[in-house]
């Protein structure tokens, strides 16, 4: 049996004609928590969509459980997604459903559990993110951080085998952050799941993940366990870990030279 639940091989992907990923290779072993880090706009969210089969790579492939995702039929992809949970970057809660119904949604769609059991499960999940008391609120009545925690409860509602978190820490206070870190780790270990965490937050991430990939300009620029990377002298890693604006990781979206741009404005 292959011990990588998810594999990305030589994957390239372009939006319109702008090449975003240029030959990415990653391994996500069963039972591990793996982080994908990289600057804003480096295509991390896109990578998760590729794993979920919502986008098709231009070349290369993503394998989930040994099968190439974009070659599967629609039914097969849907079957695959039943074993996946995804926390969206902006929560993506259903605005016409209450917090309770949002978390119950995947259970009602995919199981025939009686309402009393669904209730127990929903309250269990909401309790884990500290929002059992908010179950009757509508998404519009939640703060950004609360919405993300509800979305997290919904993402793990069916105890998925692969859990993808897109920026789980953005907009959380330090206390919730600690709780969520523990939650991700313990969900992973208790369920035997495989977790993929997309994040910017170096220090928090290094404290609990098993392996880290750094992506920049469409390629994996560094990878390793947090200990390896902390000790690493690689300029990419150094820049990221210490949050320096100048370095090999570009802060700017691809643009013409700044001076040229300004001069052109002055002349034109």
């Amino acid at each position: 049996m292959n011990d990588n639940l998810v594999e990305i091989n030589d994957l390239s992907f372009a939006y319109n004609s702008r090449l975003l990923h240029k030959g990415i290779n990653m391994r996500f072993p069963r039972g591990k928590v793996v982080a994908i880090m990289g600057g804003s706009g480096s295509g991390k969210t896109t990578l998760l969509r590729l794993i979920g089969g919502q986008l098709t790579p231009s070349s290369g492939h993503v394998k989930v459980d040994g099968r190439i995702v974009h070659e599967q039929s629609r039914e097969e992809i849907y079957r695959m997604r039943r074993k996946m949970g995804m926390l969206f970057q902006f929560g993506a809660l259903f605005t016409d459903l209450s917090v309770y119904d949002n978390v119950a949604f995947p259970m009602r769609e995919h199981t025939n559990l009686p309402e009393s059991i669904i209730r127990d499960l929903v309250l269990l999940k909401l309790n884990a993110v500290g929002l059992r008391g908010a179950r009757d609120l509508m998404p519009s009545e939640l703060s950004g951080g609360m919405a993300r925690r509800v979305a997290l409860a919904r993402a793990v509602a069916l105890d998925p085998a692969i859990i993808m978190y897109d920026e789980p820490f953005a907009g959380l206070d330090p206390i919730s952050m600690g709780v969520i870190v523990n939650l991700i780790r313990s969900l992973n270990d208790a369920l035997g799941a495989t977790s993929i965490v997309v994040t910017h937050d170096v220090h928090e991430t290094f404290s609990f993940v098993d392996y880290v990939y750094f992506v920049s300009a469409g390629v994996v620029v560094a990878e390793g366990t947090p200990e390896d990377l902390r000790a690493s002298q690689m300029p990419f890693v150094h820049q990221f870990v210490h949050g320096e604006a100048d370095g090999p990781v570009p802060f700017h979206y691809t643009a013409p030279d700044y001076r040229q741009d300004m001069l052109r404005g002055a002349n034109g």
Binding site: M86, F88, F105, E109
Partner: protein, 263 residues
């Protein structure tokens, strides 16, 4: 000069191709919604919920409009019929115009403005806030779960609303004709009963409103689903819903009427 003409022609060609392309995607979307309707019919409470939003909440505007349309028909009809000394036929005139034409058409236009825009905006925003995407990632097909129930709700609501419109319109005509203008009560109703044919008039009207229901609902759903996921995109899509639904209703009305009259 030639350059400009070529450019102009290209632009026109581009627009035409674009329109046809969109029509094609709308047709595919429609088929897809039909194929995936099983769930919305099996779990009918999903559809009932949408019938509340599209049908029940449109009731007020439909009924009030119908009352006024009926009263105006009464006044205008009386004015003309009186010249020919047949003002008792007012009931026939009101009922036939409503059942055959105004009921289905005006209901559909009001429906596009009241329920159609709401559907487009809702679906467009669900798309813009990644709710549809999230649903897909949960292995729930948004066409089956979100689009199909709304489609059936629209298709079921429209003929019911149109019938209520006609009823209320007739009542409005009655109010003007009998108490106000002093037409004989018995003549008003008996002439109407004698001249309105169930098959030719009532059933044809219902057929029309069913067709309009399909057209208006699918246009609203498609525009929302196809909208660019931005505030501007959704607002434009909402406008397009009203424009396209109105044009579709009026165009289809001509086609249907010409078939029904010749038969």
């Amino acid at each position: 000069m030639v350059d400009r003409i070529v450019k102009g022609l290209r632009l026109i060609g581009h627009r035409v191709i674009d329109r046809i392309w969109r029509l094609g995607s709308a047709a595919r979307f429609f088929l897809y919604a039909l194929v995936l309707s099983g769930e919305s019919l099996r779990r009918f409470h999903l559809t009932i919920r949408e019938i509340y939003f599209t049908g029940v909440l449109s009731l007020i505007i439909i009924l009030v409009s119908a009352l006024f349309v009926g009263m105006v028909l009464g006044l205008q009809g009386y004015n003309t019929l009186q010249k020919y000394g047949s003002s008792e036929a007012i009931g026939v005139l009101v009922a036939l115009s409503l059942v055959r034409e105004l009921g289905p058409v005006v209901t559909a236009l009001l429906f596009a403005g009241r329920a159609g825009t709401a559907i487009t905006a809702e679906i467009g925003l669900m798309k813009a806030t990644e709710q549809l995407s999230a649903m897909e990632m949960m292995a729930v097909n948004p066409i089956a779960r979100v689009v199909a129930p709304r489609f059936w709700a629209g298709v079921i609501s429209m003929p019911l609303l149109a019938s209520l419109f006609s009823m209320m319109g007739v009542f409005g005509g009655y109010l003007v004709a009998v108490p106000l203008l002093g037409i004989d009560d018995g003549a008003f109703w008996s002439q109407m009963q004698a001249s309105v044919d169930f098959r030719e008039d009532v059933v044809n009207g219902v057929i029309k409103s069913c067709v309009f229901g399909v057209a208006c609902t699918i246009i609203a759903l498609f525009e929302g689903y196809d909208a660019p996921p931005t505030a501007e995109g959704v607002s434009r899509a909402t406008t397009r819903t009203v424009v396209n639904s109105s044009l579709a209703v009026l165009g289809l009305d001509f086609v249907l009427t010409s078939f029904m009259i010749s038969v």
